[in-house]
């Protein structure tokens, strides 16, 4: 299984690299644009309510709450599923998230900015993978030759194969999102403890 996953990623370096560049490049671009277009953001401090958002701040529940929400809603429903229906939509929703994150990051002072970066990288990478999966599966039935060159697969066969590939890809998404939720919980607890 591990070898299969490795092969999957190796076979799609190009796609992942392009999506990464799009996502993290867009976050950077939005932060810069916001810096020059808007007045300096007002920082009112970290909201202590953040701890209570997920089930009264019990950290194991927070980890699983964040993980399940990000996996089911943020990654699958928002990013991957629209791409399966119409493949450019995964890219669109990935970029939309990049804009939102850029606007959120831009409003942070240095120390919370540095504290949230590991979460941004891990979670962002998971969304990059989920967008790539959505695009690959969505693109497979539109034009099988794009993904499986010279194999002469029918649309149905190409879709089935891409779906299989996508499911394996989602193992990466789940692992990354789980790590991200652990880091995010630790970051929330840390930021809530700092006055």
């Amino acid at each position: 299984m591990v070898i299969g996953l490795f092969k999957l990623v190796c076979g799609r370096w190009k796609v992942f690299a392009l999506f990464n560049l799009l996502f993290f490049g867009s976050v950077l671009a939005v932060v810069f644009l916001a810096e020059f277009m808007f007045p300096p953001p007002l920082y009112n401090g970290w909201s202590p309510n953040a701890l209570g958002v997920f089930l009264d701040g019990s950290w194991p529940f927070m980890v699983f709450g964040i993980f399940l929400f990000n996996l089911c809603v943020s990654a699958f429903v928002v990013v991957t599923l629209p791409g399966i229906v119409f493949f450019p939509l995964s890219t669109f929703f990935l970029l939309f998230r990049a804009v939102l994150w850029g606007l959120l990051i831009y409003a942070l002072p240095i120390w919370p900015f540095v504290a949230v970066l590991p979460t941004v990288v891990l979670e962002g990478e998971a969304y990059v993978f989920s967008a790539a999966v959505g695009t690959i599966v969505g693109g497979s039935w539109v034009k099988p030759d794009w993904l499986f060159k010279d194999e002469g697969l029918s649309r149905v066969d190409a879709f089935k194969r891409a779906l299989k590939e996508g499911l394996r890809g989602y193992v990466f998404v789940a692992v990354l999102l789980f790590l991200a939720s652990v880091v995010e919980t630790a970051t929330i607890i840390f930021l809530s403890a700092v006055p």
Binding site: W13, F24, Y106, A107, V114
Partner: protein, 224 residues
């Protein structure tokens, strides 16, 4: 000729994360990306107060507590209107209708309203305050509702709070909202409603805040 081989794509994959994130951190740490601003000045205005004896029958009070403040940055008109007193309502018990009203205008084109926060407290624990959610009772311009909490008995006898944000850095905003203050007490009971309006604005170079407290004191009367 193969310009980009597999290893190069792997390198590009890593660089596509490392370069943007590295640039973000680098620019932030070197100060090229600025720090967010903090409120530089808080102007607390004199409280506007009104004291009256608690009626023991339905009556139109029509008291208007008004405040007008201006400097070279902002013209702020804030009101708390006390409408009618209603005795023994089967649903709301003894209650008073109130209206929150404010109009804020900036003097400078770079001026913008950042947010508006209103908090209501009553010294009497048993009372409650509800904002009416229908269109007739709520009118606003260039403001979006961020959070509303009402019908509670929170910390420091907080009965309700409203948080609004300026929409697209507005130069002027307007708000009018009707509410019901249910007293839930005998007519002999005193009440004191403290309504505080907090307006945060950007004057083009810094953020300032205006705080306007309103006090409505009701002295207990006699049972009907």
């Amino acid at each position: 000729m193969k310009v980009v081989n597999g290893n190069n794509w792997k390198a590009l994959f890593l660089l596509s994360i490392v370069v943007p994130v590295g640039l973000l951190v680098g620019f932030k740490l070197t100060g090229l990306l600025g720090e967010p601003a903090k409120i530089t000045e808080t102007i607390t205005l004199e409280p506007v107060t009104r004291e009256f004896e608690r009626p023991n029958q339905d009556v139109h009070l029509n008291y208007s507590l008004e405040s007008s403040y201006s400097n070279n940055e902002i013209l702020a008109k804030m009101c708390l209107l006390i409408g009618g007193y209603h005795e023994d309502d089967p649903l709301l018990s003894d209650h008073i209708t109130i209206r929150v009203k404010m109009n804020l205008t900036g003097a400078d084109p770079n001026f913008s309203i950042e947010n508006v926060y209103l908090i209501f407290r009553d010294i009497y624990q048993g009372s409650s305050l509800y904002f009416l959610r229908t269109d007739v009772n709520f009118q606003s311009a260039n403001l979006s509702l961020v959070k509303i909490v009402d019908g509670i008995n929170g910390e420091n006898n907080t009965k309700a709070s409203i948080s609004l944000a300026g929409l697209n850095h507005p130069n002027d905003v307007y708000l009018q909202w009707n509410a019901i203050w249910s007293l839930h007490s005998l007519n002999t009971q005193d009440h004191e409603l403290n309504a505080t309006y907090e307006v945060t604005y950007y004057n083009g170079t810094a953020y300032n805040k205006i705080v306007q407290p309103f006090n409505v004191q009701i002295n207990g009367g006699t049972e009907p």
